[in-house]
Assembly symmetry: C2
Homo-oligomer: 210 residues x 2
Amino acid sequence: MQKVSDWTIHRLSSYHRLLSEFANEGKEYISSHELAQRAGATPAQVRRDLSCFGTFGTKGKGYLVADLISKITSILGIDRDWRVALVGAGRLGSALFSYKEFRKRNFHIVAVFDSDRHKVGKHWADVQIDHPDDMKSIVRQRKVDIGVIAVPADTAQSVANAMVDAGIKAILNFAHRKLFVPDGVTLRNVNMAMELETLSYVMTKNRTRR
Amino acid sequence: MQKVSDWTIHRLSSYHRLLSEFANEGKEYISSHELAQRAGATPAQVRRDLSCFGTFGTKGKGYLVADLISKITSILGIDRDWRVALVGAGRLGSALFSYKEFRKRNFHIVAVFDSDRHKVGKHWADVQIDHPDDMKSIVRQRKVDIGVIAVPADTAQSVANAMVDAGIKAILNFAHRKLFVPDGVTLRNVNMAMELETLSYVMTKNRTRR
DNA sequence: TCATGTGAAACGCTTCACAGCT
DNA sequence: AGCTGTGAAGCGTTTCACATGA
């Protein structure tokens, strides 16, 4: 299989969501042009992205909406459940725990960890908060696929190490710090502070120039 | 001024944070090599990024840490306060409101909006929750620079429109949806669901291949 | 005629490699 | 000798443009 860029995957994710909307609107076929318009992309981009995984369209007509949805669902691997462990039961962790978009897409938080002894033992919905020391056995028992890091920057790397040690192969990091993981472990970052600083940069630049 | 890529800005943000650490460790000079190593980048990348904005280094020695910090601070525009309006007083909004990394970098939430009449009138710390209908006047009174969208996907575009209408020129969007804003308004997105789907894709692909 | 799928060109970012300064 | 700053090469992504098929 050829190398597929992260951006293509991001766009597929967005096509997937938009296609559901088109399906709700009762559309049967959709052209790359219509999809691109709503996705904020170009028609050529849409066709190129899809062509990485096969030929799904019909020349002269476009793509069958229902068919394309199921193809993308399968490509992204969201046609199965994923079991997620969340580390960090602070406000961010709490927000993530109850984030509906996750459950809607079959990501289920099956374990929560926090090193604060006051939090350990409490329950969020039906999930008990455990201490990170027990991560290894719990991750195995509950068959965790994905780890989410929602702790302060200075402990994020040690949490990542513990996750790797527990056998987790995919990590989503919300801490404001670059993490290092071994080959074979996939790491994605969500960096809110960085995006704010990008805004700050653009506004500063515009102010200086005008 | 030449065009500087978003990625360069993201890396500057990360250099900035790392340089503070080096400063705390008592380092006076730092080479592109050392900085790159900790940032997970290459020395050439570090030098190229910095060279977009001037020549800050000394050949044979490296960069003066304190000097470089203040240069990057000024480039990113984080040497001043930014006034932020948050729309959406749900769990995510609450997490963002109390996210220390924001305040630490001089981003101050000076207004919170929510259309839920049960929330309007309540206070978060010293900020009262207001109804989005009053956004225009409040944004002007409180001199808001940046808008943060933390509402469900289906109302995000209308919130963005209201922000634009109120004169906000920079928006950070946490909703799982592509937003459209006019030229002159800067939009950045933080898309957590998309990152999870990228993990799902990589894990699915690896499982299929092996 | 209409829209896909795809070589090939264009573009932008990263890396190389070295001149030049300390 | 050591490290920066940068032209130029390399590489991956996007866009163009058109052959192909419905």
